[in-house]
């Protein structure tokens, strides 16, 4: 499963970078995340629960951060186990760039999914992945940009 996207976030690059490396922010933004611990140096571990239609699955995963260019980019690699539901293994590239309005964040994901979920849900994998990624970035953007009311103060 390959996926990529770009979001423009109205916040300075240094702040976006800091929050991307912050376990509290990540835990709040990852859809269904119940536990998240670790650090950029040691890597992160997480427990994520998702319900989609009739399917309910709990995934335990770990990611490592490497190829760090501070304030600019990093490479994530990791894997997750969902018990009988299946497993995932993959990597992602995250790149930050300055823009007039703030920061442009670009992500590229390559993942392989296996097990029951991948076998039975093949027709839905792309849509569900995109939906979860969108949810993550919506929350991340909201965390950084603050609630809409704040923006209205000119």
């Amino acid at each position: 499963m390959d996926m990529s996207g770009t979001r423009e976030i109205a916040a300075p690059r240094a702040e976006v970078w800091a929050r991307l490396n912050d376990p509290e922010t990540l835990r709040a933004c990852i859809p269904g995340c119940e536990e998240l611990s670790g650090s950029p140096e040691e890597g992160f571990e997480a427990v994520v629960k998702q319900k989609i239609g009739p399917v309910k699955a709990t995934f335990r995963g770990a990611v490592e951060i490497s190829d760090v260019v501070p304030l600019e980019s990093y490479h994530l690699s990791g894997s997750g186990q969902g018990g009988v539901a299946g497993f995932a293994k993959g990597s992602a590239e995250v790149v930050l760039r300055d823009t007039e309005a703030g920061t442009e964040l670009t992500y590229t994901v390559n993942a392989i999914l296996g097990g029951k979920l991948a076998q039975l849900g093949a027709r839905l994998i792309n849509s569900v992945s995109k939906k979860l990624a969108d949810q993550f970035f919506e929350r991340f953007q909201a965390e950084l940009e603050g609630p809409l009311e704040d923006d209205s103060a000119a």
Binding site: I52, G53, P54, V55, K56, A57, G83, V84, A85, K116, L117, L120, A122, R123, L124, I125, N126, S127, V128, K130, K131
Partner: protein
């Protein structure tokens, strides 16, 4: 090897709701053709199954003035075979008759299908295309307010869909291309001429499930013929892409289905 769960047969809707609220992690089961395979594959393990398909309150097919009212527990086979449905909205009867296979049609129910809102299912296209009203254990919901995305509806946990009231249209047609193995819609269009204008509901193609194609509705409202659809396209970025069909192909297919539904009102057309 069997996993434990409690199976409850409530005698009415109130008991069913109470049973749901009293349990740790319950699931309603109607026809079971979505839930049971999921459980067999260990992708869901509810503590309680609450059986709805036997409830007499959820049965019934009747014409009430200018509306066709169908109980949530009516099977696809019953809807397809009903002379009342065949007379009032023949495309709906034929849509029901095209779902899955015979075994599925004799267990699967309209309520289960609409409560689940699979992005490739058929009934959501009819419900949205006809502007139906979804009646639940607590309220009534207009079709336009009911579908909230893939597998997501306005139903609250524990809220039971009891029946659906379909306004009888001047005409309605349904055209679909079925996946040859699963018979799910790879793309399908339900086109209805209603008292409130033309409605076009697309299923099988959109990444977020069933949706109304507003551009096509406006064009057909001005002139109800396939020429009105010339040049109108759907955005591949919003379509499902998988091993069965690319997003671009589904966008194209959905438009073709819309034309076929316009060309053949009063029936189901299989591509």
């Amino acid at each position: 090897m069997m996993y434990d769960f409690r199976f409850t047969r409530p005698s009415d809707v109130n008991e069913a709701v109470a049973a749901f609220e009293a349990s740790e992690d319950a699931a309603f089961v109607s026809g079971g053709h979505t839930l049971l395979p999921t459980m067999k594959n260990r992708l869901a393990a509810p503590s309680d199954l609450i059986h709805l398909a036997g409830l007499s309150e959820l049965k019934g097919i009747a014409r009430e003035g200018d509306r066709l009212v169908i109980g949530a527990a009516e099977t696809h086979a019953a809807v397809a075979a009903s002379p009342i449905v065949q007379d009032a909205i023949p495309a709906l009867a034929q849509l029901a008759g095209s779902i899955g296979d015979m075994q599925v049609r004799h267990r699967g129910t309209m309520g289960g299908s609409v409560a689940n809102n699979d992005p490739s299912a058929d009934y959501p296209a009819a419900v949205l295309g006809l502007g139906a009203t979804i009646v639940t254990s607590t309220r009534e919901i207009a079709a336009d307010d009911y579908f909230e995305g893939m597998f997501t509806t306005a139903l609250e946990p524990g809220e039971i869909l009891t029946r659906i009231a379909f306004p009888i249209p001047q005409s309605a047609g349904y055209a679909k291309m079925r996946n040859p193995a699963s018979r799910y819609a790879m793309a399908a269009a339900f086109v209805a001429q209603t008292s409130g204008g033309v409605r076009v509901a697309i299923t099988g193609a959109g990444a977020e499930g069933v949706f109304r194609w507003a551009e096509a509705e406006a064009a057909l409202g001005a002139s109800f013929d396939i020429a009105a659809l010339d040049g109108l396209t759907l955005d591949p970025d919003e379509m499902i892409g998988d091993m069965h069909a690319s997003a671009g192909y589904r966008a194209h297919l959905a438009a073709v289905c819309t034309r076929r539904a316009v060309k053949h009102p009063g029936q189901l057309t299989l591509l």
